[in-house]
Symmetry: C2
Subunit: 216 residues, 2 copies
């Protein structure tokens, strides 16, 4: 175990606040996991680019963006996103299984993806649209998550969809991988407030914690 | 909590041994999660039907069945299986991330799928190829797993791929759902030997427990 005085470290390199510094809203286990989001507005001083992107994405002008609208908006930035990745994004930025997000959640999601795109591009030096296993490890470290060789091996095996002999991760799978590692780690840390590196779950809490990340 | 003297119950109706009574081989966390299976043979007295099915599936006569061969064999029984479901099946019956299984693992898998097919058909009364949420709950209970309304809600939302307004689960998604609930519950129980209903994980053990069930 790491030095107990210092507390358990989930990442060796705590990232600057700008790296995916969004905090998932807490969703108590007693609350229904599915439901409607409270209406929100853009915070004063929000970058006009974010507001403009929201308005373009909100094609029906409802003030909310649904999964199809978000998929279309994200894909228009030269990134292909599967609907399951979009659902995982929405879950990450709302803490509930919803198919609509508002201005507040969109803002968090916008900055997070912008930051992760930058990290991906930094490691994708040859602009192939893919990064390899070691680069994935470094990229996860950049967003604050240190994964062991065994965890890395599982992630690469799961997210390598290139079909080639050289294992590589494409951008949308990189985003899914980041969302999964971030989400599971944050959920774990919520149960390890003393940073001991261990957490206790009831069976119900365990299932409700992990199932939202498994399948989409 | 349930009566402590009786121990925590993960299922209200412990199924007869024939209902998916297969026990996952233990995979200690120190062992590599990927690797080769030890060679195996059919146990004396194995049903000749199982051996014949294995030999038909083993198209290259290698004595092992790979993921493509297994997918083809399963699909030939009038069931469509995605490769991701096949990989989850292989993981369930080996405890490691492998792309090949031998006679021993095939036998376990054969009987388990035969049993689950029977359960699915029992609830799919109108032979639509789909079951609804309440039937899914009953079916999971039949194989020994009692899920709460909130867990059921997540499962149905995740595994309903029918796209209709009536939520329903098709056969291959039912198998994925059973494999996920069975696998996660068994892994949890391995850490709750006293049947208290709670289990403690290190961060590494938590990630290594959960990530193999990611459907990617």
């Amino acid at each position: 175990m790491a030095n107990p005085a210092a507390g358990y470290h989930y990442g060796n390199a705590p990232p600057p606040q700008s790296y995916g510094g969004y905090q998932r809203p807490s969703a108590p286990y007693g609350a229904p996991p599915y439901g409607m989001l409270a209406p929100s507005t853009f915070a004063p001083g929000t970058d006009p680019t974010v507001i403009a992107c929201f308005q373009v994405a909100d094609q029906d002008g409802s003030g909310m963006i649904d999964d199809i609208e978000l998929q279309r908006a994200l894909s228009s930035y030269n990134q292909s996103f599967q609907l399951r990745t979009v659902h995982l994004l929405m879950y990450t930025f709302t803490g509930i299984n919803t198919r609509k997000i508002g201005p507040k959640e969109f803002t968090g999601l916008f900055y997070c993806l912008q930051s992760w795109r930058g990290i991906f591009d930094r490691f994708d030096r040859d602009r192939s649209g893919k990064i390899d296993a070691l680069e994935l490890r470094e990229a996860l470290l950049s967003i604050g998550y240190a994964v062991s060789p065994m965890v890395l091996e599982i992630l690469v095996t799961k997210y390598d969809k290139t079909g080639g002999s050289m294992r590589a991760i494409e951008y949308d799978n990189f985003i899914e991988c980041c969302l999964t590692v971030k989400g599971l780690t944050e959920r774990f840390k919520e149960r390890d407030r003393a940073l001991t590196g261990s957490a206790t779950f009831s069976y119900e809490a365990f299932m409700l914690t992990v199932l939202p990340f498994l399948i989409a």
